[in-house]
């Protein structure tokens, strides 16, 4: 029931992901951050098997850093997306990773971009994308309300509409979401949308 979705606006890209770490019927934690900062201007929102998700995204993150150390310049979003696809494609017929990825980034020349990368290494540059059962609701909501070049406020309104839709229509809907944004000033956490807080044991 992992929900990940994202869209591109005017000079920025936004991704949102649920924050539940679930094992069968048990919720281990509900503030698990599934959107990793790849470098200063790239985000990778991943959903799928938890072990693969963390291992693979960390692997991509470290390789992106390595490129920057070796070459003195950062990778473009397109290059990072193609590298990720290449790794998934190579592993596909050996021991595949079950991770779906939405990669958002900002480059000076290309502007903001969002890449959809399937677990079987299908790569496509998109304006809006989503994974998981939540995609049935978020993609339709985004199709209805999305326009090209939305402002941040309009995009956040749309993201909130999607979250409301997921919360009301998905049977085991995740309670909490994190929203991250990447624009010319870098990648950062924009907001959390929490309907259930973790209880700390100190309050006994």
């Amino acid at each position: 029931m992992e929900c990940v979705f994202g869209l591109v606006g005017n000079g920025f890209a936004i991704v949102a992901a649920d924050t539940s770490a679930v094992h069968s019927i048990l919720v281990h934690k509900n503030n698990e951050d599934k959107i990793m900062l790849l470098d200063s201007h790239k985000l990778i929102a991943a959903s799928g098997e938890p072990g693969d998700r963390v291992q693979f995204t960390e692997y991509v993150q470290k390789n992106v850093s390595l490129y920057q150390f070796r070459n003195g310049i950062p990778l473009t979003t397109a290059a990072a997306a193609n590298f990720t696809r290449g790794e998934l494609a190579t592993a596909l017929r050996k021991n595949p990773y079950s991770v779906n990825i939405l990669m958002a980034g900002y480059d000076k020349e290309a502007g903001a971009s969002l890449y959809y990368i399937d677990y079987i290494a299908t790569l496509h540059k998109v304006d809006k994308g989503a994974f998981g059962y939540g995609s049935y609701f978020s993609l339709s909501t985004m199709d209805r309300h999305f326009r090209s070049d939305m402002s941040v406020e309009e995009a956040i309104e749309l993201v909130d509409k999607c979250i409301v839709e997921i919360r009301s229509r998905l049977v085991i809907a995740p309670p909490n979401f994190v929203i991250k944004i990447v624009d010319k000033d870098g990648a950062r956490t924009h907001a959390w949308r929490q309907s259930v807080q973790d209880v700390t044991t100190a309050s006994v």
């Binding site: 696809r85 494609a89 596909l92 017929r93 959809y116 399937d118 079987i120 290494a121 299908t122 790569l123 496509h124 998109v126 994308g129 995609s135 049935y136 993609l139």
Partner: protein, 204 residues
């Protein structure tokens, strides 16, 4: 559902008088869900050879990258472009290399050979070549495409008439297939120019 029907595709190529046309649909789907409506299935190998790959999108992308690599290497060694027949043999060999773990794609190759003679062929996912004098089809809509092409095709059409014929055949066939459609992408290639056109059909 067959793995060949996971992403959905429709591809057709037709022979005209000293010209050829190659067309594909534009949908990228994941089973019943549409992810994108601008997916590129047709790729230019060089000015006189085009390949369109139907089938699983990840293998379409991997195979395309491998073929471009091999053609660039050929260009460096031979200092000329590959003939369409040679390229078709190359694709067939690359596909048969993976005979017991194949790329899940069916390519359609179209090119202008010596004396501006158009060449088209298709092959299955393990490289069995099918040469044809009139048209070749591939993808989830292939059965409809066979019927439409057989009905609409006549030999020795000029470029404009060929464009009309292949467009009508493609659009009417994808309308009967839920997994392909969302417009069309047509290349008409004559000895002097390459004309690329986007078709707008039933967007559903």
């Amino acid at each position: 559902m067959s793995i060949f029907e996971y992403n959905g595709s429709a591809v057709v190529a037709m022979v005209g008088k000293n010209c050829f046309a190659i067309a594909s649909d534009r949908r990228l789907g994941v089973q019943l869900q549409t992810i994108a409506t601008d997916f590129q299935r047709i790729s230019k190998i060089h000015d006189r050879v085009f390949i369109a790959l139907s089938g699983l999108a990840t293998d379409v992308q991997t195979l395309y990258q491998r073929l471009v690599f091999r053609h660039k290497l050929y260009q460096l060694r031979e200092e000329r472009d590959m003939k369409p027949e040679t390229f078709a043999s190359l694709v067939s060999a690359i596909l048969y290399e993976k005979r017991f773990g194949p790329y899940l794609c069916q390519p359609v190759i179209a090119g202008l050979g010596e004396d501006e003679k158009p060449f088209i062929c298709t092959m299955d996912s393990i490289g069995a070549k099918e040469l044809a004098k009139d048209f070749v089809v591939s993808g989830t809509a292939s059965e409809s495409l066979y019927g439409a092409c057989e009905a609409m095709y006549k030999p020795d059409m000029e470029a404009e008439e060929l464009f009309e014929t292949i467009s009508q055949a493609l659009l009417s066939s994808v309308d009967r297939d839920c997994l392909s459609g969302w417009g069309g992408h047509v290349y008409v290639v004559t000895p002097t120019e390459i004309k690329e056109r986007i078709l707008k059909g039933r967007m559903d």
